[in-house]
Subunit: 364 residues, 2 copies
């Protein structure tokens, strides 16, 4: 086994999920994530955790959803009981075709997701972490050779997380103290309120309320959004290429939108429910191990010199205890490049300009 | 997709597990059973069942068990809650190496199994069915080419189960009404009491208390065994080849035994406990789709023209309510060919001769 696979498993189990003796762990395994699953199972055994592996296959999901009449039972009791009794939920992505569910009708997907809200909430009550095993399918999506992609992925995953967490703490402090954020860039002039919200220092560990590996972003939950934004980083949503999405906000909600490509998918997302028209997340990408776009949101949204916004559900971790934020069946991240002709202001002070932060050399 | 895979899924879902709208189904998927899992997911979707897929990999189990200190938590709550809230548990076997766990220490395996007894019982309280997807690894174990093995497996699985169930009902009636069975063949002259015992018509459906696909046997729980028996069908026990086992019974218990090969394994089994010296099962193989030995007990014990006996534990389904049969930590099936020079008598009447049953053409 490639030693990096074992290192990945160790980071996931120790730094990210903080596994301890006796933890009840659900390990969700993609069809091509087998090798990482073996390394994680070894690490879980060493630490005395209890392992149940589930199988997460786009092809199985597609077959099931296409055959179903669309009247889904809400939160099936067996799956809910599993997740409610789990301490930890580790998701090892890695399929054979990132478009495996491309021909599932949008309304079926929506009905399925809507019927599973308690399941999602229960999963988010665990110490959940999502990661991916670098597969040939992901390499292809990134337009990279397989070994090139492995190097890219492990550069992003096998970081000095402790020191990145210290740097990101500075951005968190600025967002926590601030009331209003303004983002200005090509095709973008957007203001959002963040007053009363708490930023998450997403350092790829549940100890930081951070649930992705790799991570490396600081995010909060904005509201009262006004203005327009252009997302110029390419993306794939529901298996379709989407390019240059433009959103216009009034009173916190999308009032107009278009896209150079994939507008139908965008419509599907925005019309899911009321919350899908509002922002759930503002995130600042700070993982410079991720130096290029690879058409995979897990990596792309953490890329250094980018900022992303999500339509849909807000994370409770950004909200005061007991307060609920924007609610939706969806959470769809979209990314904009801020490396040039760009500035991020908090209450009128520029905190990032052309990709450099105010505490860095080169910021002016 | 090979149409036989879809047919296999339909038999499993409709005939075997009797899936209905709203059933909560756990689908346990082996690493190479993916294609069957896709077909089963499609069938489950059509019927409106709720699907959770688990991943059953010998390599993951091996890594976990070898890394663990052996002090296993009993019946982990998340896995137990899953199974207790499931209506149906479908196991799709199909790995890449039938020896994947060969180097797991025996005591670790035993400790793991002992810690999971409630889990096993909970699974047996569901409408559980075990089947296998024909894989290259199983083809290798059977000494067959892959496509040859597929043909063999689907011949065994895709039967007219309703008509086989009707035929097997005749054998069940004879065993239920009978008091004493005598089996005479080369190297075999054995009498057993079956008075008061109930035979199971194992027709590959939970509706018949039958949980294997393929199945195709009628079995009961004999006692007071006298005489000698030779098992001439090859087998693998505890990973060792065992050939031509001969057992001699007095007063229901083995008093002498030998084997041409693997006698040490036989000794280990017989010396496990008191119950391991007594029979727990008499089974009559009636699936003529299975026409040869493939070193896989799921198929071998159902082979037409064979009879098998098991040393060890009897099944409750053969016993009057509340009565307990032979008890043991083991249940080891051994098979004898009855296609030639052979007869099976119930209370002195010949019911099978040289493989033909009394209700068949060619029986004399």
């Amino acid at each position: 086994m490639d030693e990096r696979v074992r290192e990945h498993a160790a980071v996931l189990v120790d730094w990210s999920a903080r596994i301890e003796d006796g933890d009840n762990v659900v390990l969700s395994v993609g069809p091509d994530a087998h090798e990482l699953a073996v390394a994680v199972a070894e690490a879980l055994g060493e630490r005395g955790a209890n392992l149940l592996a589930t199988y997460s296959s786009g092809e199985i999901t597609r077959a099931y959803l296409r055959a179903h009449d669309g009247e889904f039972d809400e939160n099936p009791a067996h799956e809910l009981a599993l997740v409610e009794n789990a301490d930890v939920y580790l998701s090892l992505g890695g399929g054979r075709n990132t478009s495996a569910t491309a021909d599932v009708p949008g309304e079926t997907r929506q009905a399925y997701n809507s019927a599973r809200s308690e399941l999602r909430e229960a999963r988010m009550d665990t110490r959940w972490v999502s990661t991916v095993h670098p597969t040939r399918s992901l390499a292809q999506q990134a337009n990279m050779a397989y070994e090139e992609y492995q190097t890219f992925a492990y550069d992003a995953i096998l970081r000095d997380w402790e020191s990145l967490a210290d740097e990101m703490a500075q951005m968190k402090a600025l967002l926590d103290d601030g009331s209003e954020v303004r983002l200005v860039s090509n095709g973008t002039d957007l203001t959002m309120s963040i007053d009363g919200r708490t930023a998450v220092n997403s350092a790829a560990s549940v100890a930081y309320d951070s649930h992705n590996l790799p991570s490396g972003e600081v995010f909060t939950a904005p509201y009262a959004t006004e203005g327009e934004v252009t997302f110029d980083v390419p993306m794939t949503l529901h298996g379709e290429s989407v390019r240059n999405v433009r959103l216009e906000f009034e009173d916190g909600a999308v009032v107009d939108y278009d896209a150079d490509q994939g507008e139908a998918v965008l419509t599907e997302i925005i019309e899911t429910d009321d919350g899908a028209r509002r922002l759930g997340e503002l995130g600042i990408g700070m993982n410079r191990g991720i130096d290029r776009y690879t058409d995979n949101i897990l990596f792309d949204e953490k890329m250094g010199d980018t900022i992303h916004l999500a339509l849909g559900r807000a994370y409770d971790s950004n909200l005061p205890d007991g307060e609920s934020g924007n609610d939706s069946a969806v959470h769809v991240d979209m990314i904009t490049d801020v490396s040039e002709d760009s500035r991020l202001e908090i209450d009128g002070d520029v905190v990032q300009r052309n990709g450099r932060f105010r505490w860095e050399d080169g910021f002016e």
